[in-house]
């Protein structure tokens, strides 16, 4: 690679770095410095910093309610994802590999029906037939599981292949273990990395999803955030930054867990 190319590459990487970093910095300044941009001069750069806005949000009962709901939705969505998918993905891999293509296709479908589209279908069907179902915020759980499918299924599937699940199964089988024992005592303990990856991707989706919750008039953390920022721009910005950092932290934990096992957190297997 020539010197010219190297310089170009360095410029490219620096520009990208700025593009990704500067908005976060601007966000932090807006959130924690009480000097409006118009009045900001180099001398005032260190004035008026405080995190009181954020602390106030934490005390807001509406915020607490929305956060509690979002955290509950997150846990429920992760549990439902694992209950539905983990045994199925394992059995498809070890006993019915002919179903793999079908599973790949089915788990890709939620892509084609994004939240803002499915909400219309839900309104068209469930609202008339089972209105009580949509009354509870927990009705969001199955839909969140659904949209996480392309990512969660692929994470589990990649995990199964990377541990050589079929070989493990055959070895345990020869030694006389039942399929149930093999899945519970051999496959799942070896898949902690993939389970964490699937959970982390589901969690990130739940913490960020706005369209479906907003259009069904459910108060979750993202819908609260959008509403709150209108009345309290500064504190709202601080909250958004905090949620961003929380999401980043959750995903980073997942990346760490995977890396320890020599894997990468990848986008849906495209």
């Amino acid at each position: 690679m020539g010197v010219g190319m190297k310089v170009l590459r360095a410029i490219f990487l620096i520009l990208l770095g700025l593009y990704f970093f500067v908005p976060l910095l601007a966000m932090a300044r807006f959130a924690f410095q009480s000097v409006p941009v118009v009045l900001l001069t180099p001398e005032k750069l260190l004035e008026g910093w405080s995190i009181s806005g954020l602390l106030e949000v934490f005390g807001n009962p509406e915020f607490q309610r929305a956060t509690l709901i979002s955290l509950q939705l997150m846990v429920l969505a992760i549990v439902l994802t694992l209950v539905l998918l983990l045994p199925l993905a394992a059995l498809v891999e070890i006993r019915a590999p002919q179903l793999r293509t079908l599973m790949t296709a089915i788990t890709l479908l939620p892509w084609v029906v994004p939240p803002v589209a499915l909400v219309v279908g839900v309104a068209a069907t469930f609202r008339n037939t089972v209105p009580w179902f949509l009354a509870s915020p927990y009705s969001l759980v199955p839909f969140y599981v659904l949209w996480a499918l392309p990512f969660s299924y692929r994470a589990l599937d990649a995990g199964l292949r990377s541990i050589g699940a079929r070989t493990l199964y055959e070895a345990a089988r020869v030694m006389g273990a039942s399929t149930f024992t093999i899945i519970v005592r051999v496959i799942i303990p070896n898949m902690i990395g993939a389970i964490i990856a699937a959970s982390v991707l589901t969690a990130a989706l739940v913490l960020g999803e706005f369209a479906f919750a907003a259009l069904l008039l459910k108060e979750t953390l993202p819908t609260f955030m959008a509403e709150f920022q209108r009345s309290e721009p500064r504190a709202g910005m601080a909250l958004a930054l905090a949620v961003m950092l929380l999401t980043a932290l959750i995903i980073w934990i997942g990346v760490r867990a995977l890396r320890k096992r020599g894997m990468d957190l990848q986008a849906a297997g495209v």
């Binding site: 994004p114 199955p142 659904l146 960020g208 369209a211 920022q229 957190l265």
Partner: protein, 283 residues
């Protein structure tokens, strides 16, 4: 003799299929039926109206936004993966970019829109900084609520997403291949044209689709930056939340059915292209 279906697999597959059927197929089929029965009787009027006037504009805008942000994000994400591949130092850069991409690819939505408002909105700090060195963003016609503004914001999750998709493929290019090509007298340009790029094309196409769907369906970011934008997701919101004028609901069903058909068609198109290029690369 092996049975066609394994009992244990069937037992765990049934709840999963019931789940997908109930929460994905039932609502989708339900809305498809309603889209074709405007006002209660069979007809194409809703489907037709969904592609007229403002709704046509919304589809064109959404398509343009999705395509532009997918192609730009795709190319930049690929370039990022390629430039990190050949980069040895600093060592931390590679692993930081990996982790950061995994994070940023998920950072769409409300907070992201806020971040850009704080940076390059009308009251943004970068807007002010540029203003002081004599460049007025607003005068230049740039606005976060317009087309290019949305593109700039969407790239924030599109570039890392493409990077994640391309990294395994780019990492799979072996140095011995370029050496072999140069021993056989191929120029570096020839190596890229005949060896490297064909190998990257299937992943790149898959990535493009992911990015396209991702931005076509993006709702929260656009909602914050410009709730009145002529984009399909925001039009759906209007129809869904607006007062229940007779026929307006049918229009929402029809717009959504077109959207789903469009996304499904692009999924199939990419699958076909991928299969072809995969064959070509292995030939």
């Amino acid at each position: 003799m092996r049975r066609r279906f394994d009992t244990a697999t069937v037992i765990v597959a049934v709840p999963f299929l019931a789940f997908v059927g109930l929460f994905l197929f039932v609502p989708t089929i339900g809305l498809a039926i309603k889209a074709f029965t405007p006002g209660g009787s069979f007809g194409f009027s809703a489907m037709q109206r969904a592609l007229e006037g403002t709704y046509r504009t919304a589809f064109i805008n959404s398509l343009a936004l999705a395509a532009t942000s997918a192609i730009l994000g795709g190319v930049i994400g690929l370039l990022l993966a390629l430039s990190l591949r050949s980069l040895r130092r600093p060592k931390w850069l590679r692993s930081t970019t990996d982790s950061w991409s995994a994070v940023a690819a998920q950072l769409g939505g409300i907070p992201l829109a806020f971040a850009f408002i704080a940076a390059i909105g009308t009251q943004g700090i970068i807007t002010k900084l540029l203003n002081q060195i004599g460049f007025d963003i607003t005068d230049s016609g740039f606005s976060l609520s317009e087309f290019w503004g949305l593109v700039v914001v969407y790239l924030y999750f599109q570039i890392p997403l493409m990077f994640l998709v391309m990294m395994p493929a780019v990492g799979g290019l072996k140095n011995t291949w370029s050496e072999a090509a140069s021993i056989m007298g191929a120029s570096s340009g020839r190596y890229w044209r005949s060896v490297a790029l064909p190998l990257l094309v299937p992943s790149f196409l898959g990535g493009l689709l992911l990015l396209f769907v991702n931005s076509f369906a993006a709702y929260a970011t656009a909602y914050v930056l410009n709730p009145g934008a002529q984009l399909v997701p925001l039009q759906i919101r209007f129809l869904l939340q607006g007062n229940v004028i007779t026929g307006e609901q049918d229009l929402a069903y029809a717009i959504v059915l077109w959207t789903i058909s469009l996304l499904l068609a692009s999924l199939l198109l990419i699958a076909i292209l991928q299969r072809r290029t995969a064959k070509w690369a292995s030939a």
